[in-house]
């Protein structure tokens, strides 16, 4: 490509062995190049200029309508890919607490071009951001175009989305957290306090344990690794003396089936209110 206004910065590091702008697929990219926002607002922007534009954003989104008109957000992402600012600048975008759309911009860009260590440490740090933001989805006129989401949910999606297709952009593959933990480089990050997740407030919460236990069991039953299903039902039809055996784990058998106490026991396990009796 001949050098022009849309050419990637020659000093930009190639991302995953490619021109970083190629992370945005061709059609979207060309739509951006020809859209008014790109030409009017994004011309000649540097990292500081992008920061200003990011702070002004009112919503995020990819492309809109039947014409696939690009949103300012996606234009700014492309601009960042073009100018390839230093990763520390992007970290500043993410760490500043005032402008959530700028943070989202930084997070998204970080997920596109960052190293796995940076991605995991920066993005997980933003999982505590519970602010709402507006995302505009392509839809017909009159349909609901606006959707409200939470920053933490968006970030979680960036990290854990199975398809890795967010805002019309295929995210580069990211090594899982387990893999990261197994590696040596992550240990360094963690030593510097980069592993924010590990010190999450709710990590030791009771609720987490309970629900995890319940879910774990359900999954094992599903896989046939554990007998399950219908403990209650069995109990319904079982005569007192002739227990089937096999489910002697907990003390549920002590309670008479069909009695209020029995059900209360069951309901307690499920986190429901107890019966009045």
């Amino acid at each position: 490509m001949a050098p022009g206004v849309n050419t990637t910065d020659p000093l930009a590091l190639s991302v995953h062995g490619l021109n970083p702008q190629n992370l945005v697929e061709t059609i979207t990219r060309n739509k951006c190049y020809s859209c008014r926002y790109w030409k009017e607002e994004c011309f000649g922007l540097d990292a500081e200029g992008v920061m200003g534009k990011g702070a002004e954003l009112k919503y995020i989104g990819s492309t809109l309508g039947p014409a696939f008109a690009p949103t300012p957000f996606i234009c700014l992402v492309l601009k960042l890919l073009q100018i390839s600012p230093d990763i520390n600048i992007i970290k500043e975008y993410i760490n500043q607490p005032d402008f959530k759309y700028l943070r989202l911009l930084g997070l998204f860009y970080m997920r596109l071009v960052g190293s796995p260590n940076d991605i995991w440490s920066c993005l997980e740090g933003s999982l505590s951001d519970y602010r709402k933001f507006v995302i505009r989805v392509p839809g017909k006129v009159g349909d609901e175009q606006w959707r409200v989401e939470y920053v933490d949910e968006f970030v979680w999606g960036l990290l854990h989305d199975e398809e890795g297709y967010v805002l019309g952009i295929q995210l580069p593959r990211l090594p899982g957290r387990k893999v990261m933990e197994a590696g040596t480089s992550w240990r360094k990050v963690a030593a510097k306090g980069g592993d924010i997740r590990r010190v999450s407030k709710l990590r030791g919460d009771k609720r987490v344990k309970e629900i995890a236990k319940h879910k774990r069991r359900m999954e094992r039953i599903e896989l046939g690794l554990e007998k399950g299903g219908g403990k209650k039902k069995k109990g319904l039809f079982k005569e007192k003396g002739e227990g089937e055996g096999g489910e002697e784990e907990e003390g549920e058998e002590k309670k008479k089936e069909g009695t209020v106490e029995f059900w209360n026991e069951e309901r307690r396990k499920l986190g429901l209110k107890e019966l009045k009796g």
């Binding site: 859209c35 008014r36 926002y37 009112k58 919503y59 809109l64 309508g65 014409a67 008109a69 949103t71 300012p72 959530k100 999982l127 505590s128 951001d129 519970y130 602010r131 709402k132 933001f133 507006v134 175009q145 606006w146 409200v148 939470y150 933490d152 949910e153 854990h160 957290r177 387990k178 997740r197 999450s200 709710l202 990590r203 919460d205 609720r207 987490v208 344990k209 629900i211 995890a212 879910k215 774990r216 999954e219 094992r220 896989l223 690794l225 007998k227 069995k234 319904l236 039809f237 079982k238 005569e239 089937e244 069909g258 009695t259 209020v260 059900w263 429901l272 209110k273 019966l275 009045k276």
Partner: protein
Amino acid sequence: MFLSSEAGDIDSLRHTVDDTEMKNFDDNMLKAKHDPTKKVKRWRKGMGIEAEESDEESDSEEEGTLGTLGSALGGQTGRREDKKGEKSEGEGNNTTTNNNNIIKSRIEGRKQEESDSDSSDSDSDSDRSGRDRKPRRRVQAAVVVKGGKAPSSRRKVVGDDSSSSDDDSSDEEEDEAAKRRARIKAKMINREKEEEKKVEEKREEEKKKKEEEDEEEEESDESGSEEESGSEESSSEESESDEEIPMPKIAFVPKSKRGTIAAASKAHSDSEQSKKKAEKEKKLKALETQMAVVEVLRKEREGNEQDVSEDQNDLAGIPDVDEDDDNFPDEDSEGYRMWEDREIMRLVEEALEKSREKNKQALKVEKKRMAKMTDEERIKEDETLLESAKRPSREGGSQGGPKFLQRYQHKGAFYMDSDKMDADDVRLKNYHLQASGDLANVDVKKLPKVMQVRNFGRKGQSKYTHMKEQDTTGESLAYGGMGKRNKREREGGEDGRDAKR
């Protein structure tokens, strides 16, 4: 000249004034009419009129001829000619001969135009008769006609014929004609000079430009025709006529004297009024262009707004989500509490990742173990698994399942909130208790086999009891089946024994 009788036009004879002419006519009729070697078209009545007046035609008639000729040609050559004709007509006494005279003069004109000699002959004839004006006029008429109509060879022939019959001594006549021409030329020059003088006088008067122009016209006309004699009479006549009706002039301007349109317009714009007008127009135009620019800009802006509304800056209906952001982070806020729930679910997901990994491992181990087992071992294990997975028999239970052939009652599908449940809740009821009825107190199993059906002895009796009896899975030896007999033995040993009995 050929005769009017030859032309077949008898009407032309009616208006002859005196008898002498008639006599002459009769004499001529007796003469050889035409050259037999040459082809002559015969004319019949109604075909068209072509007549030739005789030399002896009266003066007045001549005048009339000219006049009508002029009027007839007026449409073609211009009104000046017409007026001349009218004037001369007025001179003529007989005005009733108009129509015929028109025709005659036309013919004469044609003839004149066809051959110079012809015209000169006729002139000489008229000269001989001592009338000066007549032939001159004739010539004029001929000249006029020249422009109007194209000559035809046939007529020329005819004309030659007639002229030869008329002329006795052509040589003498030619000499005379030459002399006459010289005389005419001299006269013309004189006349022109006179005219010029007149024109100058008139210009001084500065009165009527039109008149002047007309005079010039005449000049040009007269100079154009050699044979025209500059008689004072005619000129005076013409000037009189000019004074009467002013005519628009079509003047010829030589190329060297022609100006360009631009020059003319420039001269026009020099005047102050035009200057003012131009200024006004300029201002108006500037205003118009300004308005146009404004309009274009407005439209552009509108168009842009439309574009924008399509994609980017139209924030209509955007939900306001920023209300709590000022206090972020705030652990007492609703947002924080909701976040806690989400965070817990995320942590659970993370925690489950380990167990999922374990599950995968366990499945792998299980697969390996199964792979090591023999077929018999596998079948045995499957059986035990099936046995353990079997639901406890409901039949005959005092509390539980329905009896054999007991009528099934559905407990009913009603929405009930699972949060609310009392001790005597309907959902805690045993729905499999035998309802009172025919077979309420009968143990159907003890009845003979034929009677172990629904509605025994009735019209609606069915031979089927329950679905399991119809189950044929495993009866085939294919697909790892054990065969019908084996299955029967295995499953319902008692039944088989029963059947034997």
